[in-house]
Amino acid sequence: MTVAPSNAPALDITCTTCGADVVVQAGLRTTECPYCGSPHVVERPPHEDRPDPTFVVAFTVDHAAAQGIVKRWIGNRGPFVQAGIKRAVVEGTRGVYVPSYLYGARAHARYSASIGENYTVTVTYTTTDSKGNTVVRTRTEVRTEWRSLSGVYDANVMDVLVTASRGLGNAELEAVEPFDLRLLQCYTPDLLAGWIAEEASIAPEDCVKMAQGETRAGIERELQGFMPGDSSTSLQTKISLRDEVAHLALLPVWIFVLRYAEDKDPIRILINGQSGKVAGNVPFSAVRIALAVILFLGLAAGLMLVLGVFA
């Protein structure tokens, strides 16, 4: 999260409580006075690459709850993770409002596919029976007839979320989705006071492109399931999107940075600040897995030996 996009420069402001000079880091919308602790929300003049947020999903998971969730999650990681993980030191905890675009559109798709329709046929065949005589028998076989199908498909697409932050990739955001968008609120600085709020650092056009890609992939998946028949193959689609809307929304995410060994990079665990859903990759220990495999093989061999002796 140490990104300095040029469109949201660092700022010097004067604390409105104690008068001290406070620096607002580049790319952030909030800061806290180091002397008196007053939380500030800073609204920079608008810029075409940095629209004001429209919506906010507010934090409902507080710090203590998030810590509890992380502890439980690490505890449930099973025996094969690296040795230090369960004693890992939390190096940083931040509740961040991550900028993202909420995208929607009307989708129109043309598709064509081969649809497999099954039918059964009775086949006669000759074989030899147990006495060595040649006999004629019948059996039923399932065969597939391939028919081509094409058509059009129209649907509303809504609730597609893509990251607008260079610090948190789209895959990471997807890992902690879904957010309950019924609880969307209009942006107000009230919801940000005392939290870290990042400014959008990816240009709106790039985010929309990302959202379009996600939407197309989603519609292709839908269409796979939409095909009739017993099976289907070679689905071709041509998808167009119109009436697109994209609005900047701030999403609540807890970010935990854990260090489990001096010489290793710290690992990052994310928590959905609304639902408490956890995502993160914990490194596995090759040694532990190898030991377990050896132990299992040893046991199996031992068991076979014992059984062999008794037999």
């Binding site: 602790g37 939380p39 609204e43 409902t60 094409s150 649907a155 009230d190 609540p252």
Partner: protein, 320 residues
């Protein structure tokens, strides 16, 4: 309640909607805070002690850490709905009792013989249950297998798009009635006869509130539309007479929703020591959904009889 229509899908937007409930479009001017041309630094202060406050996740509002006062707790934008109109009761209490008796008599042979004489009505009370009634137009994209145009297989694939109009479709929002109960009573109501604002007249009437939130209506309504569309498409739109794998996707426009309360009699009767529940429509006493005991004695008797018959036939077959 209705003010403007969604530009994209022409569904009416309601006050407090941040996005269109049907297509997710964001209405113009719903959000935009006034643009500030220069840098703004905002510190939110406690009304009581003047200290700087911060947003508290647990209480979901601004919390002052000095005097621990909660400044304003944001009302999260998912309003709970209000009933717009009530359908009147046309079935009287006495009729409802009679209807139960009649129903118990019609249930057939496998019920206990003394069901009517031994059943005692324990509780009979009027209930207004709530539901959404909607009208909408939809462009329905569909695919299906049918017998039309089939070759070696009995099935051939078809696809198409059909404009369908939905009028007065009732979707239950009730917690008191199960979905099955609500569905069974649905055809009995005269939706056109809803009276705006007329509240309950019966003293002991239970009046349900809409405690399912508006945004949840969308998923339920979509489910109902899809099942109705799949059903209607099989009556003349998809070629053929046998169907399977009917897939539908509806693009809704102009979805208008009304929130109505529907009258019903909820009855509990006791047979031996067991309680059974029956729901009767408040507008047509013949519309009724409920549970009744079975007579295991009779069922087992018939089963034994059938078994005996089969055995005898088999034995006779073996002997001859």
């Amino acid at each position: 309640m209705t003010s403007t229509n969604c530009i994209r899908c022409a569904s009416p937007l309601e006050s407090g909607d941040l996005r269109c409930a049907v297509c997710g479009d964001v209405p113009e001017g719903v959000h935009v805070p006034p643009k500030n041309e220069r840098l703004e630094k905002i510190v939110l202060r406690c009304d009581t002690c003047g200290a700087a406050t911060r947003y508290d996740a647990r209480s979901q509002g601004l919390l002052c850490s000095f005097c621990t006062g909660l400044l304003k707790s944001e009302e999260v934008g998912d309003p709970v709905e209000q009933t717009e109109a009530y359908l009147p009761f046309t079935v009287e209490r006495k009729e409802a009792r009679e209807a139960l008796k009649k129903w118990l008599g019609r249930l057939g042979f496998f019920r206990p013989a003394d069901l009517i004489s031994k059943s005692r009505i324990e509780d009979l009370r009027p209930l207004w249950w709530v539901g959404w009634v909607f009208d909408a137009e939809a462009l329905v994209s569909w695919t299906a297998d049918s017998n039309a145009g089939s070759q070696r297989s009995a099935w051939a694939p078809h696809s198409g798009q059909t404009d369908l109009v939905f009028d007065d479709v009732l979707v239950s929002a009730s917690r008191g009635l199960s979905e099955k109960e609500a569905y069974a009573l649905t055809p009995s109501y005269n939706i056109g006869g809803a009276e705006p604002g007329t509240g309950p007249r019966e003293d002991d009437a239970v009046v349900e509130a809409f405690d399912v939130q508006r945004s949840q209506a969308r998923t339920r309504i979509t489910r109902v539309i899809h099942s109705i569309a799949a059903h209607r498409l099989q009556q003349g739109h998809i070629p053929g007479s046998n169907f399977r794998n009917v897939h539908v996707c509806a693009l809704l426009t102009g979805l208008e929703t009304r929130r109505l309360a529907f009258p019903a009699w909820v009855m509990a009767y006791r047979y031996n020591d067991q309680l059974f529940r029956v729901v009767i429509s408040g507008q047509d006493s013949a519309m009724l959904k409920g549970k009744a005991p079975y007579s295991w004695f009779r069922i087992l008797g018939v089963a034994a009889g059938v078994l005996l018959l089969v055995l005898v036939t088999v034995l006779l077959g073996a002997l001859s």
